[in-house]
């Protein structure tokens, strides 16, 4: 172990002497509120957080924070809907034979479950994070195009509603699986209106996503605060930048492919019709050229979340920042070059090429995992809710990652493809990880959004129920798949082990449902609680913690100097010779007489002149 840890022998830095630390709240409060009170307390309770107060306000808002919150709430509602549909699936599969739903309904249910989860829950929650956090993390007043942003949000809402309304259509909802392979998705095999509505819904949400991506890229390019160079951006923002670029590549391809599908269906075009010169394989290429990047579009924002959290709770900088950025870029690049691993079993793709690119992607992914561990290594780790869920994320992600390597081998995929092994795999990598990181994000940024913390005790309950419930539900699906149970079936061979594992999985679902209860209680309790938290309740690093909680309209009344990817950390330690970044102290002194918020921090707080800047004083 020592090879990993050449520095543990080194003395810890500085002393965690709270009298010497500078808190953002002290600075925000101005000169009259010195002292060591870490939390800003009530004086922030009354200030105007700029969120809309009326229904009309919410319907017309263009504020990125309001829209971020709207995205989050909407996508959580879709998570609840998708989760309930999963309940139908698990109920039906608890026993072999048909019990609760007809084949037709079952097929509609898993199709809409998958589609809701992917298109309406997971990706949009990433956009919630992008909306709320990107401007705050780079020191911008809003996204570059606020009205476009609101427009994207509403397209997403309407698209989502249309998808769900499909269940009310004649003939039921779309029932061709979330990747809608023609000819099954063609007019012949799926004539219903529900199918058309599904296509329309995804064109709309896809367009919404594309516009948001343009918005995020423009914002990150044009609206960074002075000093916020690319390589000082938080990893979260980096990940959202890469995600947005992937959206820009992938979503238009999907929209185009769907448009062609709809032309086939409505007007008798023949893009995908094998009986008349069309090609079902064309669809598969187009779809997976979108579909594989899609899973990273889902995942990257959540990788960003935990990359923000590990360092804060370990009191360490993020380990290997540049390596992490490189890994993110490599993942983004490679993930657009692996699409046909979803088509190994067609026998019509270059298996060796795609086996290679798919296997390679494990390397930058592994780098991320080790960087996360490295960020904790040698640290001083505390286990508040965000950290618990982030560790849950890490463990779940690794479990899903290793089965991904297995599936990247066509030799093995020939057996495992389209089996429950795959269902297990992708629920680990894009169900479990997303949900763990999602709750990590909620617990972490809740104080920023509301000025309150959520209950730690309830979070602990939720964490363990989620951990146990998730693994009980999904782990044994690996066995089912390996043993030969195909996916997308309402019924299965009455073999002993099929029955056993399915029953366990369905039981696990109940635990998952139970895990929601403590969370809901925590939220309700929080709504009733008073605002207690200051700007920086976790002693965090990035710029969003440099403004009050909740942030004012247009985000910042004041910005600290930005000299690293941890401006708030740098400010906190500005008075410590060992830890403080001399560039920050210098920038601070340079502000004297220019910036409104300059004050001689150390002199006020500790009664001494600022040690690091002594020489520079006139």
């Amino acid at each position: 172990m020592t090879a990993l840890d050449p520095d543990r022998s080194a003395e810890p830095l500085g002393g965690v002497d709270h009298d010497q630390l500078v808190s953002v709240d002290d600075v925000l409060a101005g000169g009259d509120d010195g002292g060591d009170d870490g939390s800003g307390g009530d004086e922030h309770g009354g200030h105007d957080e700029g969120l809309p107060k009326t229904i009309t306000g919410w319907l017309t808002t263009t504020d990125h924070k309001a829209l971020g919150i709207a995205y989050a709430i909407t996508s959580l509602i879709f998570l609840a809907i998708g989760g309930s549909l999963a309940g139908v699936i698990r109920a039906e599969l608890a026993e072999p034979g048909e019990q609760f739903v007809s084949e037709q309904l079952y097929n509609g249910v898993f199709t809409i479950h998958g589609s809701v989860m992917v298109y309406l829950f997971a990706v949009p929650f990433g956009f919630a994070l992008a909306n709320y956090l990107v401007p705050l993390q780079i020191g911008a007043p809003d996204l570059a195009f606020p009205r476009l942003n609101a427009f994207s949000y509403w397209l997403y809402v309407f698209g989502g509603l249309i998808m769900l309304l499909g269940f009310a259509a004649d003939g039921g909802a779309a029932a061709f699986g979330w990747f809608a392979y023609p000819p099954l998705s063609g007019a012949g095999a799926s004539p219903g209106l529900g199918a058309d509505m599904w296509i329309v819904a995804i064109i709309l949400t896809g367009t919404s996503g594309t516009l948001t991506a343009i918005n995020v890229i423009a914002t990150i390019t044009m609206l960074r605060a002075p000093g916020m160079t690319l390589f000082r951006m938080p990893i979260m923002t980096w990940n959202l930048l890469v995600t947005s670029f992937m959206v820009l590549l992938a979503f238009p391809v999907l929209s185009g492919a769907l448009f062609m599908l709809q032309l086939d269906r409505l007007f008798g075009f023949r893009f995908y019709d094998p009986t008349d010169g069309g090609s079902p394989i064309l669809w598969q290429h187009l779809f997976w050229f979108f579909g594989h990047p899609e899973v990273y579009i889902v995942a990257l924002p959540f990788f960003g979340v935990v990359t923000e959290i590990f360092p804060v709770f370990a009191r360490r900088p993020v380990f290997g920042y540049k390596g992490l950025v490189l890994a993110t870029l490599t993942i983004g690049a490679l993930s657009t070059s692996v699409w046909a691993h979803h088509m190994f079993v067609t026998g019509e793709v270059l298996v060796v090429f795609f086996a290679l690119t798919s296997a390679l992607i494990a390397v930058p992914t592994g780098v991320k995992v080790f960087n996360w561990i490295g960020s904790m290594w040698g640290g001083s780790i505390s286990f508040e809710a965000p950290m618990k869920f982030s560790i849950g994320f890490l463990v779940t992600f690794v479990a899903g990652g290793v089965t991904g390597v297995i599936l990247a081998s066509p030799t093995l995929d020939y057996h495992l493809s389209d089996s429950y092994f795959v269902v297990a795999h992708f629920h680990y990598v894009m169900g479990g990880t997303v949900i763990f990181a999602l709750f990590a994000a909620i617990y972490f940024w809740w104080p920023k959004v509301t000025g309150k913390k959520l209950s730690e005790r309830l979070a602990t309950w939720q964490f363990w129920l989620l951990m146990i419930g998730f693994n009980t539900t999904f782990f044994f699906m690996h066995f089912l798949g390996r043993d030969g149970m195909p996916r997308r079936v309402p019924d299965y061979a009455p073999v002993d082990n099929f029955e056993l594992w399915n029953r366990i999985a369905s039981f696990g679902y109940l635990i998952l449902v139970a895990s929601v209860v403590p969370f809901v209680i925590a939220i309700v309790k929080s709504f009733r609680a008073p605002v207690t938290e200051g700007a920086d309740p976790w002693e965090a690093n990035s710029l969003e913690w440099a403004t009050s909680s909740p942030p004012p309209e247009h985000n910042f009344d004041w910005l600290p100097p930005i000299r690293s990817e941890r401006p708030v950390f740098d400010l906190r330690w500005i008075n410590h010779d060992e830890v403080g970044n001399p560039d920050v102290a210098e920038a601070w002194v340079d502000r004297e007489g220019i910036a409104d918020n300059w004050r001689p921090l150390a002199a006020e707080l500790a009664g001494d002149p600022p040690t690091t800047t002594e020489g520079d004083q006139p």
């Binding site: 808002t61 476009l148 605060a225 000093g227 670029f245 657009t336 340079d590």
Partner: protein, 126 residues
């Protein structure tokens, strides 16, 4: 804008390399076309960033030693509310939903979008 230019040029280069490789190892034309399209998108952003940088020079946010005091004035005008996004979204939804429900819906949608686009002009300075 230099780091941005390099970043997106790098992305474009990657897709050129992988696209050509895929072509050489016998990949099907759709995949080749999609990868080269990715080159184009990366190149487009890189080209834009390069051009912007050429015209406007180094910005404070590109300099390691810049601080808030280095930029003056207004970042931009930010409306906090507008009715246009939601009405436009209703219009666009109607247009696309016409693909499922019939062209009358599309026509209605076009009407909404057109009228809202006009109103957007009056919206501009809120």
């Amino acid at each position: 804008m230099k780091p941005e230019t390099l970043l997106w040029a790098g992305v474009g280069t990657y897709f050129t390399v992988i696209g050509v490789t895929y072509m050489l190892v016998g990949g099907e034309p759709i995949g080749v076309a999609l990868l080269l399209m990715a080159t184009a998108i990366g190149g487009l952003i890189a080209g834009w960033a390069w051009d912007w940088g050429r015209k406007h020079g180094t910005r404070a946010e590109d300099r390691n030693d810049a601080d808030v005091t280095d930029v003056q004035g207004v970042v931009g005008v930010y409306s906090t509310a507008s009715l246009r996004p939601i009405t436009m979204a209703i219009g666009v939804t109607a247009i696309v939903l016409g693909l499922a429900l019939g062209s009358w819906m599309t026509i209605g949608g076009v009407a909404i979008v057109a009228s809202q686009a006009l109103l957007l002009v009056y919206d501009a300075d809120t």
